[in-house]
């Protein structure tokens, strides 16, 4: 008779999928945008990214040692937070700024809630709004693309908000990232390459990005100019952090709704808030706040968008 047989509940097989695999794939998918950022803004962008990642990972490790929890820094989730925070910073910030942001992101945005899976807001965006509130000067002065020095210029959205004359940028320039802005948001092409990887792998679905971008575009088209239905919607889609936000931050599993219906509501909500902030708000850009506000609404959305159970109406 055989003894030492293993007994466990069904099922007895598992799909070859894991949280670290998902997280590291997301890391991989953000790399094209990072490379583009470094090409456009120079090595200072690289230092910002590296310091943000190192600080995020270190903060997570310190927190986990301190709270005697399992060390999970290798699961890739802290790395993503660091990368996304850096992508939301101007390339010419002082180098302590990404460190301060990452520490805040991980400590206050994630670990105080209980770590992975428990945060109610996107940690990277928590860090970004903390930096915005604390050091607005650094957060709103942007290096000129391809200047590789300290020459700063307003982003197209900021120029628009302040009623300044826009330097001429074609849609192609905007698509490729030849504009002032945050490190990871400018090159739409690179962002779409990364997004395509995530969509292909099934790690994100189209529902949030599509409903988000579409809502912003439609709203901007209707209300974005003095006359109704004359807004430059494509300008608004290609500018600011919309593409970065829609594909990489509004799709963060933890702080977004579970069902497809809920995700569509979430996307539309993000789109409306982004457009409203851009048109009537005090800031030129509204992606971060829009996503954070919808993060806050997620438990509520989840409650009212349950899936239809088999055999029920």
């Amino acid at each position: 008779m055989r003894n030492k047989l293993l007994v466990s509940g069904s099922p007895h097989i598992h799909k070859n999928e894991s949280v670290p695999r998902i997280m590291w794939t997301v890391v991989l998918s953000t790399i094209p945008a990072g490379i583009a950022g470094v090409i456009i803004f120079g090595l200072s962008a690289l230092w910002v990214i590296l310091l943000a990642v190192i600080a995020a990972v270190a903060t997570e490790a310190v927190f986990e040692v301190w709270t005697k929890n399992k060390i999970t820094v290798m699961d890739g989730s802290a790395v993503i937070t660091g990368i996304l925070l850096a992508y939301n910073l101007p390339p010419n910030v002082p180098l302590w700024l990404p460190i301060a942001g990452s520490v805040f992101s991980i400590a206050i945005g994630k670990q105080v809630f209980g770590g992975l899976g428990q945060n109610i807001f996107n940690p990277a965006l928590v860090g970004r709004v903390f930096l915005m509130a604390s050091w607005p000067k650094y957060m709103t002065s942007f290096a000129r693309p391809f200047s590789y020095d300290a020459v700063t210029s307003a982003t197209p959205l900021a120029a628009l908000k302040e009623g300044k004359v826009l330097e001429h940028l074609s849609y192609l320039d905007l698509f490729l990232g030849k504009r002032g802005g945050c490190i990871g948001e400018v090159c739409i092409l690179a962002l779409l390459i990364g997004a395509a990887v995530l969509l292909y792998k099934g790690y994100i679905s189209w529902h949030i990005p599509a409903s988000y971008i579409l809502t912003t575009a439609v709203f901007m088209y209707i209300f974005g100019a003095k006359q109704l239905f004359h807004g430059d919607w494509l300008f608004h889609v290609l500018n600011g952090g919309l593409i970065l936000g829609a594909f990489f931050m509004a799709t963060d599993y933890v702080a977004t709704p579970l069902t497809i219906k809920g995700q569509l509501i979430f996307g539309v909500g993000c789109g409306l808030l982004t457009a409203i902030i851009r048109i009537w708000g005090g800031y030129p850009e509204g992606v971060s706040y829009a996503i954070l506000m919808m993060n806050a609404a997620t438990p509520f959305i989840d409650r009212y968008t349950k899936n239809r159970i088999y055999g029920t109406k």
């Binding site: 008779m1 055989r2 003894n3 030492k4 047989l5 293993l6 007994v7 466990s8 509940g9 069904s10 099922p11 007895h12 097989i13 598992h14 799909k15 999928e17 894991s18 949280v19 695999r21 998902i22 999970t72 770590g115 992975l116 899976g117 428990q118 599993y253 933890v254 977004t256 579970l258 069902t259 989840d302 349950k306 899936n307 239809r308 159970i309 088999y310 055999g311 029920t312």
Partner: protein, 424 residues
């Protein structure tokens, strides 16, 4: 629904082979959903193969028959594949079954049988649903409402298992006879057989019989679940809390239909069944025709030599099967497969926190939100689990299978199901 690695190649082309009659069988007094049977023999009695040896007075049950000729050696507690342990009748024979004779019926005689006669034969033969549920079949043949559709379940959606597939290829005509018998007795005109597209031989075999409509199904798990089968063949859902009867549908598994054929035409009670014995540790995976009560070690020995020592023995498939603690456990009426796993295949993965990726929601064929029920269950919030529809879970296991954090979703949902029952 999810696409699984099928792993049917181990045994799908192996013709059904008869396992030599064992010299000892262990027949649990309960091999069905319902009341436990009472022995009708004493220790020391001599029994013939096919003789009824245990039954209940009334209610939901299926009688037990001697699966070999021999002597009652004991009536004792013994390992049971589903219940852990249960009382069983132990028969000792000499490894032969000479003189086994059943009373055959001609087609003329069969045609004269009424529904009541057929139901009696099915009850007397001890037939239960052989797809795994083991609900006594004679009760399913007594619908409270008229039926209009008969669906034969030949999906066999569990990975590895090929017993039904082989039966469909090798016993097509017999199964069709059985189908016709059930349909005419119940006055059913619409007859379908649902077969997954990974069984082209079976599809071809049934295409020769125009009276049965072959529905080719995608090989997605759990295509063979009763609710999914009805939805994918008829485009109808069974309303919540109702049974297939309520929408005029009867579903029978192919192995059950074959057992009905054997009982009615050949007078043979349910004393043997086809079992797929499979897994990467076996040199010769097989589809074996096995006497009920045969200990699984006999089956494993016949498929050896072992390439590797198995660390997990599963009754059924890898998704819904039950892991066994001993190889002395006997084959019972609902055992369609025996899966052996080596150390690597059986490794347990460490559980992490839910990241709300919603893979379980997308996979759930019942339309539930498994991760939410899991959280409610872990916190003993039974009312919340009920609101999330825990009771509608069909226990297919997809949520566990797809979870990247390896969370034990199904176990906690099963626990919630039990607690939800207590809520008024």
């Amino acid at each position: 629904m999810v696409k699984l690695a099928e792993n049917k190649h181990y045994s799908e082309h192996k013709a059904i082979e008869r396992l030599p009659v064992p010299s000892k069988v262990y027949l649990p007094l309960i091999q069905h959903l319902g009341k436990i049977c009472t022995p009708e023999v004493k220790v020391g009695d001599t029994v013939k193969s096919g003789q009824r040896i245990a039954a209940a007075q009334s209610g939901v049950y299926a009688p037990i028959h001697a699966s070999i000729p021999g002597v009652v050696a004991a009536i004792q507690d013994w390992p049971h594949p589903v219940l852990g342990r249960a009382k069983a009748i132990v028969l000792e024979g000499d490894g032969h079954c000479e003189g086994e004779a059943f009373v055959l019926k001609s087609r003329k005689e069969v045609e004269k049988l009424s529904l009541e006669d057929i139901r009696r034969i099915v009850l007397d033969a001890g037939i239960v649903g052989m797809g795994g549920a083991s609900f006594p079949t004679h009760i399913k043949l007594n619908p409270p409402k008229p039926l209009n559709t008969l669906i034969i379940n030949g999906a066999e959606c569990e990975p590895y298992l090929t017993a039904d597939a082989r039966l469909m290829v090798e016993k097509t005509a017999e199964i069709v006879e059985g189908i016709a018998l059930i349909a005419s007795a119940l006055g059913i005109k619409e007859i379908y057989i649902g077969i997954e597209d990974n069984k082209p031989e079976a599809i071809k075999a049934f295409s020769a019989f125009p009276q049965v409509k072959v529905k080719v199904l995608k090989s997605d798990y759990p295509q063979g679940g009763e609710k999914q089968l009805i939805l994918n063949i008829l485009g109808k859902e069974i309303p919540r809390g109702k049974l297939p009867f309520d929408i005029g549908v009867l579903v029978q598994n192919v192995a059950t239909v074959y057992a009905i054929y054997e009982a009615v035409f050949k007078g043979k009670p349910l004393i043997e069944r086809v079992v797929t014995v499979t897994g990467s540790c076996l040199e010769n995976p097989k589809n074996l025709l096995v006497r009920l009560g045969t200990p699984v070690k006999n089956l494993i020995d016949s498929c050896g030599p072992l390439k590797e020592e198995p660390v997990k023995i599963i009754f059924g498939g890898p998704m819904m099967g039950i892991a066994q603690y001993t190889d002395e456990v006997p084959i019972i009426k609902s055992s369609g497969g025996l899966l052996l796993m080596n150390e690597k295949e059986a490794q347990t993965l460490e559980e992490g926190p839910c990241i709300r990726c919603a893979a379980c929601l997308r996979g759930c064929p019942a339309g539930l939100m498994p991760c939410q029920i899991n959280l409610a269950s872990e916190r003993s919030l039974w009312q919340l689990a009920k609101d999330y529809g825990a009771a509608d879970c069909i226990e297919c296991g997809i949520c566990n299978y797809v979870c990247p954090a390896n969370r034990r979703l199904l176990q906690t949902i099963k626990r919630a199901k039990l607690e939800v029952l207590k809520i008024k």
